[in-house]
């Protein structure tokens, strides 16, 4: 795969307003290699981890940029450095635990030792043994650093990029999204745990899902019936300049039950009658006064940051080959949460994660689409017209797929895909 040249793909985009997505994008091996070069090793900021995971100097955590494993760590002077987890000598995986503490890193194979900034510190037998062997006189340690990434952070979110061309992080994210990040990270967070899902689908299907408010009120009964999310609520979809990032946001205001009834007339998913025998799940004090029940942000290429009721989480979409991804969740609350607030977030973990009332259905959606599209002809494509055709711009409605089109627009541009003549 890795040896695939960047040019080598037959894909041309059928329509210029991205209302159609050729199913080929979900099972074409040549695209996978191209994504690695253009998106993950290219001029984009890729999410690495939270600063909260490496608060102390010497702490490190491993993560993935695309399917490349990367080590992120904090140095004595408090800076954050990141490098590919592969030794500069003969390439062995350098760090062998998922997370830990280390002031330097020694490779198991020949014990080359690297600083936590990625510099080569020492080489056994460099001058040989008993005057024989060893490295050539002209061997220059400074020329054998680890392969490092540029790192930037915003409000505790740590990003990295392999490219020198990548614009500054704030500009990359853009003001509209920064504001939403500010809202959540207005105070220190507290790590509550991780979840991992191995979804049998192409990674981009998850991005489609979480950029799509249209499914939110239709796939998930819980959303609808218990008022976490309804298209009849006050909702907006907005994007950055590139249209590659997006926010779906709903607040529990301006909603009349008649509207709800009319929208769900004939649907099985809305059950006004539906009651919980133990409703304490919803009996949790909101974390913010703004009545926002649902905020799903995506940062291109593969980060999701979200709020669902009282739950806050990072969802990192990690490709594991063409037809599988790991959905890696970082579930957090706030440092000043009291016991009740924490207990409330643990209760509401029943909404999210691999077993969550809402989130389990998103994994299933990925599986269903991957299964479905593999039977289709390569030339077939999906229909993405909800919210109208044409220009891709922010919309004050949830009855739209415009952010999905935005994703594909930026994806095609980033990979340098042509439009069909």
């Amino acid at each position: 795969m890795a040896t695939q040249p960047l040019e080598n793909t037959s894909l041309e985009w059928p329509v210029s307003d991205f209302t159609r997505v050729p199913y080929q994008v979900f099972h074409d091996a040549s695209l996978y290699a191209r994504e690695k070069a253009a998106l993950f090793h290219g001029p984009h900021w890729n999410y690495l981890c939270l600063e909260a995971e490496i608060t102390q100097p010497g702490q490190y955590v491993t993560t993935y940029v695309g399917d490349t494993q990367v080590v992120v760590n904090r140095t004595e002077d408090g800076e954050v450095f990141a490098f590919i987890n592969s030794c500069a000598h003969r390439g062995a995986q350098l760090v062998r635990k998922l997370r830990g503490e280390a002031s330097s890193f020694t490779c198991a194979y020949h014990q080359w030792c690297f600083s936590n900034k990625g510099d080569l510190l020492g080489i056994p037998q460099q001058r040989g043994v008993k005057g024989k062997g060893g490295m050539p006189k002209d061997f220059d340690k400074s020329k054998h650093k680890l392969k490092t990434l540029r790192v930037a952070t915003y409000k505790g979110l740590v990003f990295g990029t392999f490219s020198q061309e990548t614009p500054p992080l704030r500009g990359y994210i853009g003001p509209a999204l920064l504001e939403q990040i500010d809202r959540i990270f207005d105070r220190p967070i507290k790590l509550l745990g991780y979840y991992r899902q191995r979804v049998p689908a192409n990674w981009k299907l998850y991005l489609e899902n979480v950029k799509d408010p249209y499914n939110a009120g239709l796939l998930h009964l819980f959303h609808v019936t218990f008022g976490i999310y309804r298209p009849t609520m006050s909702g907006r979809v907005f994007m950055d300049e590139s249209k590659g990032h997006s926010v779906l946001r709903t607040a529990d205001i301006d909603e009349s039950q008649d509207e709800v009834k009319s929208v769900y007339s004939g649907s099985e998913k809305y059950r006004p009658d539906y009651k919980l025998k133990d409703p304490s799940l919803f009996d949790v004090t909101p974390d913010y006064p703004d009545k926002v029940t649902n905020m799903i942000m995506t940062i291109f290429p593969n980060l999701m940051l979200g709020q669902v009721a009282n739950t806050f989480q990072i969802r990192h979409v990690r490709p594991k080959g063409l037809k599988e991804f790991e959905l890696f969740w970082t579930y957090f609350g706030f440092a000043d949460d009291d016991e009740d607030a924490i207990e409330g977030k643990l209760r509401q973990s029943n909404f999210v994660g691999p077993a969550g009332y809402i989130s389990l259905e998103d994994g299933e959606a990925g599986r269903l689409v991957q299964l479905g599209v593999e039977g289709r002809d390569p030339a077939d494509s999906s229909i993405v017209r909800m919210g109208d055709d044409g220009v891709i711009d922010n919309q004050d409605t949830l009855a739209t797929e415009v952010a999905v089109r935005g994703f594909w627009k930026h994806y095609a541009a980033s990979l340098g895909l042509e439009l069909a003549p």
């Binding site: 979840y195 133990d278 790991e326 643990l346 077993a355 009332y357």
Partner: protein, 165 residues
């Protein structure tokens, strides 16, 4: 002698059989898709909690599943039956490693499990291995879970968890 904890030493054979049968009835209930009976294995305010071995090892509290009343469990069953979208599978639990000790008025039980899922086309996958850490009470001569903690080694969950482990 660490290798020989008193653990279980003081539980009589009769109790051991009773607990073993209870635990087997639980897994069989799930494997026979009698989900509606699942909550009845718990006392009214019994707690069912599934935790990834990762969070457990890191001392992080976020659970995979967390039901702290029989009513909540009944809500889960209703959702599984009427509302949630997930792949239909046959399940099969294989268990072993039962060790029991007596706490004050309760029984503390430890056992291991492997859970297999088979698709409608008869392809079987190992869905999860892990451990059950149980606190069991004797209510009017039947057993019930006060607390069942399921430690999941296979926390890289294969897509999703629908039915209880």
């Amino acid at each position: 002698m660490t290798a020989m904890p008193k653990l279980g030493a003081d539980v009589d054979a009769q109790t051991e059989r009773q607990v073993a049968r209870f635990l087997t009835q639980y897994t069989r209930c799930l494997d026979e898709d009698r989900l509606e009976d699942w909550p009845s294995f718990f006392s009214g305010n019994g707690v069912y909690r599934a935790l990834s071995r990762e969070n457990e090892a890191l001392g992080l509290p976020a659970p995979l599943m967390y039901y702290y009343s029989r009513a909540m469990m009944e809500d889960r069953v209703t959702a599984l039956r009427d509302a949630l979208t997930y792949e239909p599978v046959y399940t099969r639990h294989i268990t072993s490693g039962l060790l029991i000790e007596r706490g004050d008025d309760v029984l503390i039980s430890r056992s291991d499990f492997a859970l297999y899922q088979s698709t409608e086309e008869g392809i079987t996958r190992l869905f999860a291995v892990g451990a059950y850490q149980d606190t069991i009470t004797q209510e009017n001569d039947r057993l019930a879970f006060i607390d069942r903690r399921v430690i999941v080694d296979t926390f890289g969950i294969q897509n999703l968890i629908a039915t209880p482990l």
